[in-house]
């Protein structure tokens, strides 16, 4: 078998370098968590290793639940690298402003369903922004970057996912935000149920209210 060949660096993220590779006729993506010179080495190793393993486990679990995400091909713990399926498409963040309004509504609803299915499996994404949703050429959407995902039962954690998505829209696409979130929530409640959706939404509001000013010693 030949060694994978790097074709292109897709994203130099805050945490990892994501590259596109060519390997035995397949297109792959590698996600390498780079050491951070600003962290003390022991803390750095611990964080990278923990996140690499957690991410791989979660992706496998999500694929089982039918959440569209890149499939895992190989895991190299010694270098904190995950090799996975390559999805040809663009970040939703970059596509949103030039999509037509009907398409935006449809995508928002579908994303709501996908996130709902993920939450039903007790998995939170942890960094759910429009940069971490890929829109492929056929108009399908995929979730990527589960580096900060975790398994949880805490409503608050689910609410944080939605809060983060809302805030990424608010900061980068504030004109689309309301319409997007409304349709997102429709899709979401279709999967998790109205009651559960309202419960999570209540928490989202609480988080927004809270992160603002906490009195010392209070």
């Amino acid at each position: 078998m030949e060694e994978p060949k790097q074709i292109q660096v897709i994203r130099i993220g805050a945490e990892a370098i994501v590259s596109r590779l060519r390997w035995n006729g397949f297109d792959l993506v590698s996600k390498h968590r780079v050491p951070k010179p600003y962290r003390v080495p022991e803390l750095d190793r611990w964080i990278r290793d923990r996140r690499t393993i957690r991410e791989a486990k979660i992706i496998v679990e999500l694929k089982r639940a039918g959440v569209p995400a890149p499939a895992i091909i190989l895991l190299d713990r010694s270098s904190s690298t995950i090799y996975m399926q390559y999805i040809k498409g663009v970040e939703l963040k970059k596509a949103l402003d030039r999509l037509d309004p009907m398409k935006v509504v449809e995508i928002a609803g579908r994303l709501g369903e996908i996130v709902g299915r993920m939450h039903l499996r007790k998995i939170v994404h942890g960094d759910l922004t429009t940069s971490n949703v890929i829109l492929d050429e056929a108009g399908r959407i995929y979730l990527i970057d589960f580096g900060l995902s975790s398994v949880t039962d805490d409503v608050e954690e689910f609410a944080v996912d939605i809060h983060l998505l809302d805030r990424s829209l608010e900061s980068a696409h504030h004109k689309l935000r309301e319409r997007f979130m409304r349709n997102f929530l429709l899709g979401y409640s279709k999967i998790v149920g109205r009651e559960r959706a309202l419960e999570v939404l209540g928490k989202v509001k609480e988080i927004r209210m809270r992160g603002r000013y906490v009195k010392r010693g209070g």
Binding site: E15, R39, W46, L164, R212, R216, G217
Partner: protein, 334 residues
């Protein structure tokens, strides 16, 4: 060039009662601050408010004396409208209203967080940075986009400064910078909850876990090392994410915790990876101060953002993204 106008600013959101005078051309004429220091524990809002009332009159006289101008020369009176502690905010607001009425000058309600950012931009020369605003009561990552300072990340529970101060007080070594100073003698790092969610952070679980380590008998220096390294790593990482997300080339650190030497080191190491420039607000303007309110008031005077006395309520939960930042679209000479 437009004629220079002067604004008096009054700060009183938490422990500091501050007075400043700034000109619309960006000169700080005076910066006079009185800091309430609790005998033990954290800030008691009512005691802090009493401290502020006690120093109010003296502060007004002192700031005009330092600036060397007559109070009649002032073109506006600015005050910190929030976020902050209600009783403290009301002292500054009452004083500002009285002075505005007495002098017959417009009143300017300033957002405290925005004032930290604007004084930082003024004194460091940063133009369009991603801002990490870290203080006892606030932790947020923000950048200017489409007329407002948008919040990209913030704490989901307590502020970073609050976490470190509370730890220091509980551990009996006192608030910041003591935990950071003691950390320099730390030898062993203990894992603590590292809670980063996107660009948001959470510190309350980490504080509890650090206090548990102390109870278990771990050396206080080692716990200091673990808590400061973990908190600062989390902040640096979220800032790195925001930098990647916004694609800006500058970082600005403001707020009391911007004084931290270790945090600054970490952020500079991170910025190097992205070819970003780091600006840190100098110590004089890092903590709460009157000059930052005066300067932001001056900017608001330029953009016509004054407020009527009868509408000038204090706002303990005032968010920075509620403010229309009209002055940044004015063509100001750079």
């Amino acid at each position: 060039m437009a004629e220079e106008r002067l604004v008096l600013g009054i700060e009183s959101t938490a422990h500091t009662l501050g007075f400043g005078i700034a000109s619309t051309t960006g000169k700080i004429l005076a910066n006079v601050n009185y800091v309430y220091k609790p005998k033990e524990g954290g800030i008691h809002p009512r005691e802090a408010a009493q401290h502020h009332s006690l120093h109010a009159a003296r502060g007004v006289i002192e700031v005009f004396r330092k600036a060397g101008i007559d109070p009649k020369r002032i073109d506006g009176v600015a005050f910190s409208a929030g976020p902050g502690m209600g009783p403290c905010l009301r002292v500054g607001a009452t004083l500002a209203r009285a002075l505005a009425l007495k002098l017959g000058k417009p009143l300017l309600a300033v957002n405290h967080g925005i004032a930290h950012i604007e004084i930082g931009r003024l004194v460091t020369g940063a133009e369009d940075p991603v801002v990490l605003y870290i203080a006892g009561g606030n932790t947020l990552i923000t950048a200017y986009l489409d007329g407002r300072y948008r919040i990209f990340g913030e704490t989901l529970d307590i502020a970073a400064g609050n976490c470190l101060d509370a730890f220091g007080i509980e551990a009996g070594i006192g608030p910041m910078p003591n935990p950071e100073i003691r950390a320099r003698e730390g030898r062993e790092l203990h894992p603590l909850p590292y809670k980063v969610k996107g660009m948001d952070v959470s510190f309350s679980g980490l504080l509890t876990a650090a206090l548990k380590l102390l109870k278990k008998g771990v050396r206080v220096e080692d716990v200091c090392l673990s808590i400061t390294e973990t908190v600062y790593s989390m902040l640096t990482e979220t800032l790195e994410r925001a930098l990647a997300f916004t694609e800006k080339g500058e970082i600005l650190l403001v707020g009391g915790l911007a004084r931290s030497i270790r945090l600054r080191q970490m952020i500079e190491a991170m910025a190097k990876l992205h070819d970003a420039k780091v600006y840190v607000v100098p110590p004089e303007y890092a903590g709460d101060n009157g000059a930052m309110i005066a300067w932001t008031g001056a900017l608001q005077l330029l953009s016509g953002q004054t407020i009527k006395v009868e509408e000038s309520k204090v706002r303990p939960k005032f968010r920075i993204d509620e403010v229309e930042v009209r002055w940044r679209s004015l063509s100001r000479s750079k």
